[in-house]
Amino acid sequence: MKKMLMGGLVLVVMAGTNAANAATSSGTLTVTGTVASSISLTVESAGGTTSGTGTAAATSALGSISKYGSAPTGFTLARGASNWTISSTVGVNVDKANLTSSDYTLTAQLGSAPATGIVWKLNGSTLSDSAATTLTSTGTYSSTGSYSWDIVVADSAAAAAIDNSINFSATSN
């Protein structure tokens, strides 16, 4: 019984020695910052051969289009008496963060004036490069909105590139 007690005492002394040798120190680093409200817009889908969907800078290539040819990928083609129309949709998503807004207004505007005889439409409204067209004033956050997209080509339009860009803009309400 005496031996057992002695062993216990030795262990305690060793533990005390280790604790005494360890030096400690501490410091506090205060971290501050300011959270800003933000919204983000992404083009989720579009007719044509697309790239960059899911980002704010998507591209759609239609290739060569003609009244009596086939419709580009993801488009339908409708021939009229004096014009023809290719139709598809554009999916636009708007997310919010650190913001109490319940919905948003989405507008679209062409990046440059369309070629003569070419009309660009979204949601049935003709787009221009001089003023923004409102697509919705009650957009739902985090839900991809689908907007009809038409390009109307007059039979009288010159055979040339129709390149353009559609600039979307979302504003929280």
Partner: protein, 156 residues
């Protein structure tokens, strides 16, 4: 007799001789050669960072899958007061204060009220850069965020 004793006592306290003696005793106190200090230095050129405060500026969400996020690097220096280098220490960190609006990580380790080991073998006598990551969920309203990270170091 009482009034005389009081006067003598006041003179003794104000005496420059006595104060000098006190200073001499303090100066001659032995320095623990193993005593260590911890210091912080901004490692990414933040002008607003001081040795004890880090202002990360404006946080805004940039990635859809995450909240507003900012990452800053801070060099944590562990030194012996004696200037002797060598050996290692265990560096731990915890959230001493949090307004509950942000998640704070150091080197990817989320901090909470309990200390977690950041570096089990931090070299004494040099500063190691650690990555501080502040993330605010999208549901948190805009405004100020504040946290205080307590760093604890123990020699190995």
């Amino acid at each position: 007799m009482r009034s005389i004793a009081a006067v003598v006592l006041v003179i003794a306290l104000l005496s420059p001789e006595v104060n000098a003696a006190t200073r001499r005793r303090a100066a001659s106190a032995p320095i623990d050669p193993d005593a260590i200090t911890i210091s912080f230095t901004p490692a990414d050129g933040m002008r607003t960072t001081t040795r004890t405060a880090l202002d990360v500026g404006t946080l805004a969400r940039r990635e859809r899958a995450r909240g507003a996020r900012v990452v800053r690097n801070v060099a944590v220096g562990i030194d012996r007061i004696s200037g002797i280098t060598g050996g290692t220490a265990t560096l731990r960190a915890l959230l001493q204060y949090s307004d509950g609006r942000a998640t704070v990580r150091v080197n990817g380790i989320t901090l909470g009220a309990a200390p977690v080991v950041i570096d089990a073998h931090a070299p004494i006598g040099s500063a190691i850069v650690h990555r501080i990551d502040i993330e605010v969920p999208p549901t948190v309203p805009a405004g100020e965020v504040a946290s205080a990270i307590r760093w604890e170091v123990t020699t190995n």
